[in-house]
């Protein structure tokens, strides 16, 4: 299940939805990850005259975002035999500490659930068309994110 939305999400409700979908009790593990808006240092003028210095926002490419995430869900399900997958990503204006993204998966055992959630996050961060803006500055892509994503493709496959 994929959702792109401006509004916040309820981790408890999302967890319960995954758990209640496990009607046959074939899942023995649920991993739920949330990403938050971390503090950042505004490099531009932070004087009171600059109202955007401390704002945080997320832009995306409507249409392509949904397609990329849907393909990612299919790949993760197949790769880790995941039973339920929920991916929620917020867009628009956010505040420090706000929830940005939720990835929740269920699987028979914990290793697949941990790996599946990590795989989804690593690929999402390098392939889904979202862009963060901190204050007046668009965030630069990080080499460490590319490396985190590349380990899933360089491993034996």
């Amino acid at each position: 299940m994929i959702r792109i939305q401006q509004e916040d999400f309820d981790t408890g409700a999302e967890y319960n939805a995954l758990r209640s979908a496990n009607t046959s009790a074939s899942a023995g593990a649920i991993v739920l990850f949330t990403g938050l808006v971390r503090e950042f240092i505004a490099t531009t003028n932070t004087a009171e005259g600059n109202p955007t210095a401390n704002t945080f926002s997320l832009q995306h490419y409507p249409g392509m975002t949904e397609t990329v995430l849907a393909e990612l869900e299919v790949a993760a399900r197949s790769r880790y035999k995941l039973q339920q997958v929920t991916i929620i990503h917020r867009v628009g204006s956010l505040q420090l500490g706000d929830q940005i993204v939720l990835v929740a998966v269920s699987a028979a055992h914990r290793a697949a659930a941990f790996d599946g959630a990590m795989y989804i996050m690593d690929i999402l961060k390098t392939q889904a068309p979202f862009w963060k803006k901190e204050g007046d500055n668009w965030v630069d892509a990080k080499e460490s994110d590319e490396q985190a994503a590349s380990r899933w493709t360089t491993e034996s496959e």
Binding site: Q59, M64, H89, V101, T126, A128, P129, W131
Partner: protein, 98 residues
């Protein structure tokens, strides 16, 4: 307004591309989208990049030393990805979501 020589504004067969720009690239170019109607057909992403940089100084400076990714009809594209009349072509910096 008796302009009998008025030309049709858009011809259905004229080659056009719908371009989308995101994040810092949209800021640099000063627009989030545009419809491009070049005087000749553009057949690949590489050719489109070259055309844009030759015809727009802001494009030329934006492309200098920066990674600009491309998607054609919402699918990640490479330089040799072919283009057809009416395609949606998006250009954007490396993504930073999550």
């Amino acid at each position: 307004m008796t302009n009998k020589t008025k030309q049709t504004q858009t011809s259905a067969s004229k080659f056009s591309l719908h371009l989308l720009y995101f994040a810092s690239l949209a800021d640099t170019l000063g627009r989030p989208s545009e419809t491009l109607t070049p005087n000749k057909n553009i057949t690949s992403v590489a050719e489109l990049r070259q055309y844009l940089q030759q015809h727009d100084s802001r494009w030329a400076s934006a492309a200098q030393g920066a990674t600009i990714l491309c998607a054609v009809n919402q699918t990640v594209a490479r330089d040799d990805t072919p283009l057809r009349n009416g395609d949606e072509v998006a250009f954007f910096p490396p993504v930073t979501g999550g």
